[in-house]
Subunit: 303 residues, 2 copies
């Protein structure tokens, strides 16, 4: 395929994305963000009747919280730890010398007690757990944050830092399974209002290493994760833009979340990959939102 | 002062902020974000007539770009480098062992080629430079991103990860000085529409180490940085919520930005500390935006 006509090269040529010199790390222009904001508002409207508690988090979380989440067991290759300089004038002088000589100056950096968030919902659980036992209706949270995954890629849909929006349900098995079944329907209805083609499939996370293969098989066989996939990239399979996840008691056990009846709380979430959805819109409806179908513009509040 | 009545404790008690276990790293609720969004829109309106180019960036930037910016010379103590796990199954097993024993598992993390952004405008300059010489009118950019500064603090206004909005002017000395003088007026007029008390003062950045003191003195004596300060925290001086910065040819020299007449481009910026502005609003107008003065609500698009 001619490099000048790839979806990726057209995004840069149109000024929708700005390169930063690192694969999977890109800036966005005003049009891209306008679509993003329209999608955020539409997702808010789609969930508003359920009166979720709104939580928004910065792109990083406490290292202690991150460690306890168990993320390093399953996805160590994706995580991004944050390190800082804690030295004095002399150490600073040495660091600048290393940098000037093109040597590795990062090795003297020390842990800053924070880790980039791997998923928006990871920050929710300890906060909900700390409030004590859930009420009889359990809890529902609307959360958003930047998330990090270290997987440099030329695919525009595979960003290292991206925004994830989620509805997170915490409660009994019946409550969270009903939530997930409901959002698998609502998610598809939502994507219908965006006039995008899609398919929904059983999926599995990219667990690390040899043991990871068993984890992935188990997740798939138990139908714990479904994805809504939309064709976006050139010559590649469709891209997961929404996911519908059932965590069983994993986070309930980890954080000590308890239902009103004393049982361990279960959790499920419906997650939206925000930049992926924007890219899907650009791919299928073109680069100028003014030319998009009236129904789509209405969904995004553009008219 | 009674701990239960500090501004900070009241923010948590009211649910406006969520603790994450790390000082200076907090979640925000829907009310906080509604004020944030209103302020963003108002800042957009205040600059719209000048038709700036809109750029939005993720919270991190290329390590190469960061190194070239010279940030580590002046503010090494604030920077946050991002590190990742690049090992195999065996290394993973060792890492988990260290974590389980409470040992330092971060030392085997390797550089991920990205660094958290120290300021929103740092991502702008290399992109503008790469386009070649500026036109006769120079350039104007509206940029926003999360920024990181490693300075754990209990002051609600001193967050480690926060959002910075900036108007950035690039051009001749006359163009950028006119821009800064203009925005020092417009910034004050903007804060007037928010009904907030303020003062504008010459300021200096917290440069690192012994040499840093000279840098700070020089910056202050040359009037390179002014800050708009608003009283927010208990028993502390007022907080810088806007800053008006003149960089002379620092970024022009660093990135090779050139004016139409062949001279090195100068730069200036007007920066808004977004979370600080939200906190100032909550401090002065109360925790329920429904009760805020009609003019303030109008500025934020709340009615």
């Amino acid at each position: 395929m001619d490099m000048q006509t790839t979806f990726r090269s057209r995004l840069y040529a149109a000024g929708l994305l700005f390169p930063t010199g690192v694969d999977g790390l890109v800036g966005r222009n005003g049009v891209f963000e306008q679509i993003f904001t329209g999608l955020e508002s539409a997702i808010t409207r789609a969930g508003l009747a359920d009166r979720p508690e709104v939580m928004r988090f910065p792109p990083a979380m406490s290292q202690k919280t991150f460690e306890r989440s168990g993320y390093m067991k399953n996805f160590p290759h994706f995580a991004g730890t944050v390190h800082c300089f804690c030295g004095d004038d002399k150490a600073h002088h040495q660091l600048l010398g290393k940098m000037a000589r093109g040597e590795d100056w990062l090795e003297s950096q020390e842990g800053a007690d924070i880790v980039l968030s791997p998923a928006a919902c990871y920050q929710v659980y300890p906060i909900v757990a700390q409030r004590g036992a859930l009420g009889p209706d359990g809890h529902l949270v609307d959360v958003q944050s930047y998330c990090f995954r270290h997987e440099p890629s030329l695919e525009p849909t595979r960003m290292q830092l991206f925004r994830m929006r989620e509805y997170v349900r915490i409660g009994t098995e019946a409550q969270v399974l009903a939530f997930r079944a409901d959002w698998m329907e609502r998610g598809q209805a939502f994507v219908d209002t965006l006039h995008l083609p899609y398919e929904v499939e059983v999926a599995n996370d990219p667990f690390f290493g040899r043991a990871g293969k068993l984890m992935a098989d188990s997740q798939r066989m138990q139908n714990l994760k479904f994805e809504l996939l939309i064709p976006v990239n050139d010559g590649a399979g469709p891209t997961a833009c929404l996911s519908f996840n059932y965590h069983q008691t994993y986070f309930g056990d980890t954080w000590g979340m308890v239902n009103a009846d004393g049982t361990v709380a279960q959790t499920a979430c419906c997650a939206f990959g925000m930049e992926r959805l924007v890219l899907a819109m650009l791919r299928h409806h073109g680069f100028d939102p003014a030319d998009w179908p009236a129904g789509v513009k209405q969904t995004l509040g553009f008219e």
